[in-house]
């Protein structure tokens, strides 16, 4: 008994001593002319005294800002830097824990520099991502989060993540959730807790990877996302064949949707009784990106009816049941259609039907791979793009690419075209030496209307100076009467002599537009994916 009392007395003495020391330190600091930290008084703190009162450079000005502002500043820091502020001073010790934003990225958590392009998962021999992330979670002590982002692709502990997500959802203020998870080995995917589907605060939801979604059916109490505006689902797993439809039906105010549909989504479910329906019937939707698996496209049915849609991107094959309707407000479409190997007449009809709602767009971007399927619909009439003012072809091409027909065809079908752009990369350099075949532009009896009266800009990135490319440029320069700008960016891999030769040839081409300026760019190695 006596021993214990003595121990507690010693402890108390120790506490009092350290408290005294802290006060003395602060007093010394104050005597040096440092402003004391003020408690949070959002909106009421005076800004007068900071810059105008004294030119004294030694004032700890930042610590006089209210807590809420310091916390807001910390939310702009990468996680590591934010946690490290705990050591600055006693005022800063716990501020990082109050930041309602948490970004845990396995690639960047341990990096010391602010890298914009994270490399592969950094393996730090001393620390594991699991330990660091768990530590952060514990220290934060369940302070509510409004934004949680987790990128964990190597040995993700799904049970732990499930707990974190569940805890976060239960706090009730989550607005943005972004999970990018891959679990190595045969372990089951991370199961999203049902509470997710009852979140009334969620505005943005992004899920990719080994994640299992089991949205409760609409009939079982009103489970909708009343606030959800952004939904991005990439390659996840669904618990039922109708899970996608259920999920989409629960988003009444959705504005941006990105969906990837492939066979692996339904792994382990066996065959569906009927087709898997993906019905996008959302009156508020403004942007839509669909990646549609071509492999088993007969198993799926895609139906899109979105009257407010302004931007549409589609990559995939056209199964029998791909229906696109009611897109009166569409401004831009980005299309990459996989070819049907059987080259059937039926497929040509499907392409034609698919293109019909796109005919009113102002801007169109087409992947050049398999773009020639757009030439086939001739049998069903020639679709005219009456409103098209900007057309771009993008992607990887080969020197023996025979889809130049499409470029010519589109010029004829877009009478009001103002901007023609090609953003290409050469697929395989070894083709250079084997390239013997010469393709020529088709002889046309008339000059396309857009060239005579509308085309003002021609942009060609990835120009390699081959026969037909030169022909195209020569043709446009010759016929485009109102052309103002032609910008050519040469393939960076060409030798400088070849580039010089190309430049010279281009400058010698006849131009029918007197105001035309030709811009020639030597091109530089672009290590990052070009953006669309």
């Amino acid at each position: 008994m006596k021993g214990q009392r003595r121990e507690s007395m010693e402890e108390e003495e120790e506490e009092r001593r350290s408290e005294r020391q802290r006060i003395e330190r602060a007093e010394r600091a104050e005597r040096r002319g440092v402003l004391r930290a003020r408690p949070c008084g959002c909106g009421g703190t005076s800004s007068n005294s900071l810059s105008s009162s004294s030119a004294d450079d030694y004032k700890d000005v930042i610590s006089s800002l209210p807590d809420c502002l310091l916390i807001h500043i910390l939310s702009f820091l990468p996680t590591r830097a934010s946690v490290a502020t705990s050591i600055l001073s006693s005022r800063w010790r716990s501020l990082w824990k109050l930041v309602p934003v948490l970004d845990l990225d396995q690639r960047t958590l341990f990096s010391q520099s602010d890298t914009e392009y994270p490399g592969p998962t950094t393996t730090n021999s001393n620390f594991s991502f699991l330990d660091a992330a768990s530590n952060i979670w514990t220290l934060r002590n369940a302070i509510p989060l409004s934004k949680l982002r987790l990128h964990w692709t190597s040995n993700c502990d799904s049970f732990l993540v499930e707990t974190w997500v569940q805890d976060t959802l239960l706090r009730g203020s989550l607005q943005e959730l972004n999970l990018y998870i891959f679990i190595n080995g045969p372990n089951p995917p991370l199961e999203m807790p049902t509470t997710l589907f009852f979140s009334s605060t969620l505005v943005s939801l992004r899920l990719t990877g080994d994640i299992l979604l089991n949205p409760p059916p609409a009939s079982a109490s009103a489970s909708t996302f009343p606030s959800l505006r952004i939904l991005v689902i990439g390659g996840v797993r669904y618990a039922k064949h109708n899970s996608i439809s259920t999920l989409l039906a629960a988003c009444p105010v959705l504005q941006d949707l990105s969906l990837s549909v492939e066979t692996s989504n339904f792994y382990g479910l066996g065959e569906s009784a009927g087709k898997v329906n993906v019905i996008v019937l959302i009156p508020t939707l403004k942007t839509l990106y669909v990646q549609w698996s071509a492999d088993d496209c007969w198993l799926y049915k895609l139906q899109i009816n979105t009257p407010a849609l302004e931007w549409f991107r589609f990559e995939g094959g056209l199964g029998e049941d791909v229906v696109l309707e009611n897109l009166p407000n569409l401004v831009e479409a980005v299309i990459e259609l996989d070819d049907d190997d059987s080259n059937s007449v039926d497929y040509a009809k499907r392409v034609f039907d698919f293109s019909r709602p796109l005919l009113n767009v102002q801007s169109l971007k087409l992947s050049i791979e398999d773009a020639e399927i757009f030439c086939n619909p001739y049998k069903y009439g020639i679709p005219m793009f009456h409103n098209l003012s900007s057309l771009m072809f993008y992607g990887e091409h080969r020197p023996d690419w025979c889809a130049w027909d499409v470029v010519q065809l589109m010029l004829c079908q877009a009478p009001k075209l103002q901007i023609l752009a090609l953003k290409l990369t050469l697929e395989d350099q070894s083709y250079h030496s084997d390239f013997k075949r010469h393709y020529h532009l088709k002889e046309e009896f008339y000059v396309p209307e857009c060239l005579s009266s509308h085309l003002t800009t021609f942009y060609y990135e990835g120009f390699s100076g081959h026969g037909i490319e030169m022909e195209l440029v020569r043709y446009v320069l010759k016929e485009a009467k109102v052309l103002k700008t032609m910008k050519i960016i040469v393939e960076s891999n060409l030798g400088s002599k070849a580039k010089h030769c190309i430049h010279k040839k281009l400058m010698n081409f006849r131009r029918s537009s007197r105001t035309c300026q030709i811009e020639f760019d030597e091109g530089h190695l672009d290590l990052y994916m070009m953006s669309l």
Partner: protein, 147 residues
């Protein structure tokens, strides 16, 4: 429609309503019909208010030119610390979200890539930890402090 704003040092600023309502605080006053007379802003001095109004005006003028606006913002925020914190406080008080975020981003940029000692020096923060306490904090999140 013009509004009159009065800074803490009694200087009156006349501004277009469209410019002034970039501030959510002023916007609510206008919507509630309390903006007929001069609006007093006791928490913002004239020097800061002038800068803030310049920000607001340019955001109305350059609304459609993203590139030009970004150029302006980058130049605008190149101010010394004291002015930066005044802007922060004013943006917070007047509830101007984009100015607040830009200013916070600027402060965060000042902290990035620096060691704690360097941060303390830049911001003139006094270290009031004992060596034992500092060691304790370091141990709590060792991974965040490894050089």
């Amino acid at each position: 429609m013009a509004l009159e704003l009065k800074s803490s040092d009694n200087k009156i600023f006349e501004v277009e309503e469209l410019v002034a309502v970039q501030s959510e605080t002023i916007k609510s006053l206008v919507e509630d019909g309390c903006a007929d007379n001069v609006i007093p802003l006791p928490n913002v001095d004239s020097k800061t208010l002038e800068l803030v109004l310049d920000w607001c005006k340019n955001h109305v003028d350059m609304k459609l030119d993203e590139e030009k606006l970004k150029e302006y913002e980058d130049k605008f925020i190149e101010v010394d610390q004291a002015v930066l914190y005044d802007l922060l406080l004013a943006a917070n008080y007047l509830n101007i979200k984009d100015l607040l975020n830009r200013a916070c981003q600027k402060v965060a940029d000042m902290l990035k890539g620096k060691t704690p000692e360097q941060i303390r020096e830049t911001l003139n923060i006094v270290n009031d930890f004992s060596p034992e306490e500092e060691e304790e904090i370091r141990k709590e999140n060792l991974w965040a402090f490894e050089e």
